[in-house]
Symmetry: C2
Amino acid sequence: MRSATIKDVAERAGVSLKTVSRVINNEPSVHARTREKVQREIDALGYQPDPSARSLRSTRAYAIGLVYDNPNAHYVINLQRGVLAACRSSGFGLQIHPCDSSSPKLAEELRELVHRSRLAGLVLAPPMSEQPALIGALSQAQVPFIRIISARKDPQDGHPCVYVDDRDAAYAITEHLIQLGHQRIGFLWGGREHRSSLERYQGYEDALKDYGITLDRKLIVPGDYTFDDGFRGARKLLALKERPSAIFGSNDEIAAGVLAAAHSDGINVPYELSIAGFEDSPFSKQSWPALTTARQATEDIARHAAQRLIGDLQREANGEPPVTRNEGFSPELVVRGSTAPRNTAPSGRGGRRKSAT
Amino acid sequence: MRSATIKDVAERAGVSLKTVSRVINNEPSVHARTREKVQREIDALGYQPDPSARSLRSTRAYAIGLVYDNPNAHYVINLQRGVLAACRSSGFGLQIHPCDSSSPKLAEELRELVHRSRLAGLVLAPPMSEQPALIGALSQAQVPFIRIISARKDPQDGHPCVYVDDRDAAYAITEHLIQLGHQRIGFLWGGREHRSSLERYQGYEDALKDYGITLDRKLIVPGDYTFDDGFRGARKLLALKERPSAIFGSNDEIAAGVLAAAHSDGINVPYELSIAGFEDSPFSKQSWPALTTARQATEDIARHAAQRLIGDLQREANGEPPVTRNEGFSPELVVRGSTAPRNTAPSGRGGRRKSAT
């Protein structure tokens, strides 16, 4: 039996030679059903493409990379889900690359990753997406990428991104606490290498200012986006002579730490202490009481970012110009049981330890 | 200026032509430092390898795939971390492929994934790793893989795996509860498509039997490895006329649901109800009270699995036989605040709602 040719495959699949070639070269432009049909015939005929006839283009694996540095499992899984959704609808694979955002060799590491794994481009999560030196180096090395960043508006800095307005959502959370009657509101920072930390702090500060509440530096504690820092920060705030009646943790992990610190101190949440987080993680729905938070549509944001990257890659392949307008997202306030009006402890409960304000 | 040749690169990097060729072809056998050195010279000289001279072998992206179907973010992140650790130390990339384990086209989907993304092999998590038909189909298609499965001993079935003895750990948890004086111990199942569910149930049943406690079917509730099923299952158990004094949830997510159900019913944990989970998730350390559980070294297990797969791939490339002995792991009991001796409510607390046993 003579060995099968590309022509045999095309005839049996009822498609053009070009389409078979596209399937063999894993080009993403082929419809999934067509790809399956052609692949079936390739398998049935035992057709082996001649490797020397394949172009350099064909050595691409049609995968993109997702680069992140975040201890928050739910955030990372949602990032991955969003990027995967975009990858799947366009035939790309997804390589994941958790990294050390503080590494001085990160640009080199990512360039090598793209080269070695033949990635078509990268989705950069914060804080890497917010490091100008890294962005400059990747741009210089002509590595296609999209950034997910924290910003109030489109930065229009010449590099593609999707941006999330953290300040706006943090303002809404702080305003919610103020409207419940809270004046002494503690704030626990996230990691300074994330621009979202500054933005969330800014939302807190702006809301206090707009409502004429004087900022008390003692109520503001630095830290990282972790449970442990939430626990430690809350202990510090709860030990103050003038205790806060509400604490806003910069993310849900921090708020979870605050909740644990309150529990371990026998403080009734929300009647003696209101707690708010940021993210809308599964924990925020499952904790007791459930957490007031800001719903950050991480999966959606990541999907949009990956779609934009893949779209730009395809536009470039077709000789079309890339998109220039960047997309923005705004997390929304979600009110749950962990926040309540100030000083509303039911009689016989919580009277023991009252806020001193 | 004439274009640079592979010989120029080799001379400037001080290595053999073969080594440069290995770097160009992304073969994993090159030392990271050598790879960097060669890459630097390739970049400096602007050397472009001739694509037609590259072998079929060189079209491999040297990535492996991780296949899972699990709603538990922490479990998945730990799987990924373990596999990534093995990938990095051997120069492989990692593509992730969450899938629908109940899809009838899964074998085809994975075969296509391996082909399209040119993956060197797959790490299969449960429940895919425990589906004989899928394993048979992948084996037939000559897709290299390693399985992570739940089993008491090495299955010696001709397919490589690492196995986790869930029964043994579930026995230890149940025994711990019995030794605290509990006789009516509720059991909440995980998803039946996971062999770990059956194994954990078996550990529960075996421990009761060994301690002469009669099995009460009303205390056993089917469900999935989710918070919601834990909540629902606990509500069912807590509504029984003869309520259990302890509940063993098949994983930490289920136990988190039990904890929430107890909280919402005003039941004091652990004094009125002991709760145990399985996994040692971050939640189990952060909840109030922290959960007694079994520490499942998911990251370690996944790393060993990936190392074995990559090792076998390299052994095969060198014409050596694959490893035949499979490695086993046993989760260990971790006792925390959610379990306590039966009927030890401090006076004035918890007396209101006592277990009816």
